[in-house]
């Protein structure tokens, strides 16, 4: 069975990223952005029969049922996706699969990150209670890595970057150019966290090194936000009024490790197989892609993703960045919304922003940052430390 052309994204909603929320609940945010996406698709609640949510701290169990009840949805398919940054793309893959299998017809996929400011008086509370993965667990990771300060994600991507530099070589200014191009894009997106704040390669290289060799401006900024999409059958998508759908032409997934310590390779990621599956399913070539919407928690992530997704040979990523203009108005448009580096990383919704942006671009609804002739888009979601990978291909036509 193929998913090619069986389903489409018809509704998109996203909150403008903000440093903090003020008295918000994750449940409320998940529901609100889901409702907005359903409205964007021109549907009533009763026309939605599927729901996919992320795992969130307020509902460690029964999260899908909680949201189904809260929104008043009669769901024939409801589940949680637990793929870190790849969750958003993974939701779309699962929604398309459920629709193609005939389990349901219209699925809302919702993600959100609340971020309450730490109180200065009274007990300290976690700033981000919406991201269940931030709590200490009882995994091998907690036992064999956390005691060594291997905490968060910065260190892991730094390990990847240093190994990549050792094996293949990339100049710091080449990595910096990725961040600069995305900031240019963000300056054309009033919703981006860093709208109106252009940067240069020197700004990136002069920003403090946080973990060798990564500079501050090569690292995402955590924010609050939310993003949701509605995935429906191609049959129903054709009847959509108001705007064009973004058809799902290809999807692929690959996971090989949780911790980068035990990854088969630090520089050759599971993206390769995920992208290969997606491109094969879609039946399109790399050179046919008009837009790359690639998970960008760090600049090195983008470089390795471009290689493993097949846009350039392994080891030539630095040269690719030199030879191509990655701006939305350039010859290889990358993350027109600014990427998470400049749009902001709203927890799991940050990963979903690559889905919403690719859908908006294919629908022709990206306003001042619209990529010209955007008929085919490649999306990659990346979870953990180059761990879970989900690739998607969207098209204007089924």
């Amino acid at each position: 069975m193929t998913l090619r052309g069986k389903a489409a994204i018809t509704g998109v909603a996203e909150f403008k990223p903000a440093r903090y929320t003020h008295g918000a609940t994750t449940l409320g945010m998940l529901a609100e952005v889901a409702r907005d996406a359903i409205a964007d698709a021109g549907l009533e609640m009763g026309e939605v029969d599927g729901l996919i949510t992320e795992s969130f701290a307020e509902a460690p169990m029964f999260a899908p049922a909680t949201l189904v009840e809260y929104l008043g949805i009669d769901a024939r398919f409801a589940e949680v996706v637990d793929h870190g940054g790849a969750t958003g793309a993974g939701m779309v893959l699962r929604a398309a699969a459920a629709i193609a299998a005939g389990l349901c017809e219209t699925v809302v996929c919702t993600t959100a990150a609340r971020r309450e400011q730490r109180s200065t008086d009274g007990p300290k509370r976690s700033a981000n209670t919406g991201w269940a993965g931030r709590r200490r667990d009882r995994t091998p990771y907690a036992e064999f890595e956390e005691p060594y300060g291997a905490i968060g994600a910065n260190f892991g991507y730094a390990l990847i970057a240093n190994r990549y530099m050792h094996e293949h070589g990339v100049k710091p200014e080449q990595l910096a150019r990725i961040a600069v191009a995305q900031r240019y894009n963000a300056c054309h997106n009033p919703d981006a966290l860093f709208f109106g704040q252009p940067i240069t390669v020197d700004d990136v290289l002069n920003s403090p090194v946080i973990v060798d060799p990564l500079h501050l401006l090569e690292i995402v900024m955590p924010v609050a936000g939310a993003a949701a999409v509605v995935v429906t059958s191609a049959k129903r998508a054709k009847k959509l009024k108001g705007h064009a759908p973004a058809y799902i032409l290809g999807a692929g997934e690959h996971t090989t490790h949780r911790s980068i310590t035990y990854a088969p390779s630090l520089t050759d990621s599971p993206i390769r197989a995920a992208a290969e599956t997606a491109f094969k399913m879609a039946g399109v070539r790399r050179k046919d892609i008009d837009l790359a919407s690639i998970y960008d928690c760090y600049t090195i992530t983008v470089l390795i993703s471009l290689e493993d997704a097949g846009f350039v040979k392994k080891g030539r990523g630095g040269q690719f960045v030199d030879e191509h203009n990655l701006q939305f108005d350039g010859d290889f448009p990358l993350n027109p919304h600014g990427g998470q580096l400049s749009f902001g990383q709203a927890g799991i919704a940050g990963g979903m922003s690559h889905v919403t942006e690719a859908a908006r671009q294919v629908m022709g609804r990206a306003k001042g940052r619209q990529v010209k002739k955007c008929e085919l888009a490649y999306v990659n979601g990346n979870g953990g430390i180059m761990s879970e990978q989900v690739s998607l291909i969207f098209g204007r036509d089924a």
């Binding site: 200490r136 907690a142 036992e143 300060g149 905490i151 390990l159 050792h166 310590t261």
Partner: protein, 141 residues
């Protein structure tokens, strides 16, 4: 050992039935990991089942403690608040001579001296009376 050790604030491993033997060995200054009974191939971290196949079992064996730095980073800013009062921290993936990779800190090494491929040896660092962490130091010339 210093006085501060009695108030060790960093995350500690919480050994379970499958991993206890590893931590017991570390306390005795031994690096003891698992290997395949069928092929002798080593694996880290300790597990209840072999990742090498359904008809394989794992057995414990002491290993050399020799390895090389596979990759590293120097955390110039603390990765967690518990490290806030320390200088730059070297976090590395060490590839053991026997094959598996482990995460550890490289101790006794200036940040500017650490390099991929550098030879290191296991160093057993008692951080509390119960817990000895397996760390690595540059190998003697």
């Amino acid at each position: 050992m210093t006085q501060a050790d009695s108030a060790y604030i960093k995350p500690l491993p919480e050994p379970g039935p499958v991993t206890q033997l590893f931590w017991d060995a570390a306390r005795e200054g031994r690096l003891c990991i698992q290997r395949s009974k069928n092929t002798g191939k080593y694996v880290f971290y300790p597990r209840a089942v072999s990742p090498f196949g359904p008809n394989d079992e794992l057995e414990w064996a002491d290993v050399s403690g020799r390895g090389t730095v596979y990759s590293y980073t120097v955390a110039r800013r603390p990765t967690a608040p518990q490290w806030a009062n320390e200088g730059p921290l070297i976090i590395a993936i060490v590839e053991l001579e026997e094959g598996p990779r482990m995460t550890a800190n490289i101790l006794g090494c200036a940040p500017e001296d650490v390099a991929i491929g550098m030879a290191v040896t296991a160093s057993f660092e008692a951080v509390t009376p119960e817990v000895t962490l397996v760390q690595f130091r540059p190998a003697a010339e």
